[in-house]
Subunit: 207 residues, 2 copies
């Protein structure tokens, strides 16, 4: 593309570096920003700069936080004997939105992937293993994805943690609430039959 | 969504103000930016700030420019007697990319739309009408869209400009190069038959 302004060209180039945004979308966004008031554009760029400067990773669980220890770990009402292992901060947000979980998290920041050169030492799991060693926790819930990498990581942690007297659980896989059986894939359906639960507990969790 | 960091929440909110970007995409972009080096994030925000501070609208044609007069208007090799009327800066970029047009532009910055409260006085057309009045131009090419608003704007300008001894033309509408006739819509096909061109000129413009 042939821009009449070098500044526009530079901005389009930078915006197009964002994932999932091509040059045409970047141009559309840049022209949108040009039409906005200066104060709105400043609010956007300042919030992005602050994001990078002020947001930290919680020293305990790896969650994003404005402080050294995140709100969840610092909350005295959370049950510190249960830890849910997740891959990503987005998983924490998703689980927190349910309002059903009162324990802590361990955010690995990824999963073991030999293809991408990510080994166990690249993941944020030290705090969890230390807690298990010091017998500070009673239960670990595996909340990783069911991809091959996710399953590998879960199995790695399972082997490490089974040395300690811990309850090791995994989040239930099954037919989504509201979904019809006929459209479910076979693996999910098979697993949801194998891991069937008492009827009373299946209605209790809805309330 | 329930964020563990106020700075993250603010950044997601600001990014989600961009057109076509919802909160989930905004969160994905914010987490991507968090993983980038500080220098890359600064390059993005600085380029956006500079865009707003330094980019001007050309006083002659309304195109974007780093100077008071844009590169196209300032170029002594461009034919200043022909003006192509377009809606948007993106249209200028599209036409410039063809390398086939050597005249100037008039970027209206919109089209007449009573529904959105945009009247002729909101559009950047004064410079064009002045040029016509002073007999500085020989030809005006209408390059606006074929929406009702685009056609209305073209007709408005046509009425204004037909007072002067000008050649008034419109860009050709027809079957796109490479398209097959059977898939063309009827209006386009009818117009491309009505506005058929001598065979010699149809092959000349490809070269």
């Amino acid at each position: 593309m042939n821009f009449s302004s070098k500044h526009l060209e530079k901005a389009v180039e930078e915006i197009a570096h964002l994932p999932g945004i091509g040059r045409k979308t970047a141009l559309r966004l840049a022209l949108h920003l040009l039409r906005q008031e200066e104060i709105q554009v400043m609010a956007l760029t300042e919030s992005i700069n602050l994001l990078k400067e002020a947001v930290k990773y919680c020293k305990n669980c790896g969650n994003l936080s404005d402080h050294d220890i995140c709100e969840i770990c610092a909350n005295p009402r959370r049950d510190k004997t249960i830890v849910c292992v997740v891959e990503d901060i987005r998983d924490v947000i998703a689980i927190e939105n349910t309002g059903q979980y009162q324990g802590l998290y361990q955010v690995l920041g990824g999963v073991i992937s030999p293809m991408e050169g990510i080994g166990p030492s690249d993941l944020n799991m030290t705090a969890l293993l230390q807690k298990a060693e010091k017998a500070e926790i009673d239960e670990v819930i595996f909340g990783l994805g069911t991809t091959m990498e996710g399953e590998t990581t879960t199995f790695y942690l399972y082997k490490k943690l089974s040395l300690y007297p811990l309850k090791l659980t995994a989040i239930a896989r099954g037919i989504a609430v509201g979904d019809q059986l006929e459209y479910a894939d076979e693996v999910t359906l098979a697993r949801s039959i194998a891991n069937r639960v008492p009827y009373e507990s299946s209605i209790k969790s809805d309330s």
